[in-house]
Symmetry: C2
Subunit: 221 residues, 2 copies
């Protein structure tokens, strides 16, 4: 179960790990302010002392969760674009890699997008910086696609990028693992929608046979 996840530093004790995992689930269900430190430690079978031995504050715990997640996503995105040369393929890989994260890190994502307003100033800047980096990866792929004559040049880079981000990110509001479709299927649909929206028609004709565009398969719900 843990094997597919990113390797944490082995310096993390079991309790610290458990506090993070437990509070992640609780925050996901009730929100950061809907869960008290007492509830966290009770759910962990530990104590206030145990908690504050590992975290200087409840806010730091929130930061650790945020940082852990965004760092992971960032690495995955960088991997995705580095192992491809063609902008279309890069876009496809980014979307598919991000969408995969939903299976592994659903609570992380919910907390990340839901509770980030509660991050205290010293922490919020660090997270913002990484989020911006992530955005710029998306933007750069779109820009590259336009420059290479693959994507439609009339599209504004930033807003198109935010549209894609929004489409994918919003999944955290509704995706359930036991829903009708697997996360990979959903990813394929996203890729299909995005590429149909971005590619210039000639390119689309040429690439329609590639696997990232949905065939005329009947996809029932």
């Amino acid at each position: 179960m843990e094997c597919k996840r990113i390797q944490r530093g082995c310096s993390l004790t079991e309790l610290k790990e458990k506090i993070i995992e437990t509070s992640l689930t609780l925050f996901d269900q009730h929100g950061f302010h809907g869960v008290s430190v007492n509830e966290i430690v009770k759910a962990c079978g530990t104590s206030k002392g145990g908690f504050y031995h590992h975290f200087s504050s409840k806010d730091e715990l929130l930061f650790v969760i945020h940082d852990y997640f965004i760092s992971y996503v960032l690495i995955k995105a960088q991997e995705a674009i580095s192992e491809s040369t063609h902008p279309t393929e890069k876009m496809q890989k980014i979307i598919q890699s991000f969408v995969k994260v939903f299976d592994l890190y659903k609570p992380h994502i919910s907390v990340f997008y839901q509770e980030s307003i509660y991050l205290k100033p010293p922490y919020v800047e660090a997270i913002k910086k990484k989020r911006q980096t992530y955005k710029e990866i998306i933007f750069s792929v779109i820009k590259e696609g336009i420059d290479k004559g693959v994507f439609r040049s009339e599209l504004p880079v930033e807003i198109t990028g935010m549209s894609i981000l929004g489409m994918v990110n919003w999944s955290y509001k509704w995706y359930k693992r036991d829903g009708g479709k697997t996360i990979d299927e959903i990813g394929d649909i996203y890729v299909d929608l995005v590429l149909n929206a971005l590619l210039i028609d000639k390119q689309k004709e040429a690439e329609i046979t590639q696997p990232f565009l949905l065939k005329n398969q009947v996809v029932v719900d």
Copy 2:
């Protein structure tokens, strides 16, 4: 300033109105749990008594804000589809009408998407029902488009619908009134992206001259 907004029942006293508007701004900035009732009443220049005269609880205030917003959006969407016959036009109208709400109800939207997890059981069902109705409006337009041979039949209705919703909804995370583009311009881009993603190519050829698709204008940021 208020004139463009929906007419509230005139039974609302000035204080109740003021509490709603003030807390909306505060919730938007600091989150529902980041603002205490004391802070609300202080910002309003009123008192605990004043507050609890109009609201039975802080939770009810949150519900009122939610219900007010979703009801408005629902009406707008129903207007949008009823005044059009063609699915393409319906989709266009829905997106444009929703996007317009961002200018008028930015704090409502932020609170709606950010704090809804804190709605208590008696309230949360009522809101969920209306949200579902909204989703089904979108779904029905997509379904109609597919049935009429306008939208690509290989697209799954629900996920495509959630993609569109996500794309548009996500705006609340980044849209600023004084940004580079007006909300109407952003709406046009959304319409362009969505229709390019949904329309079958023949339709696209035929309708490319229509105003809802971006011309080869250079849109700089």
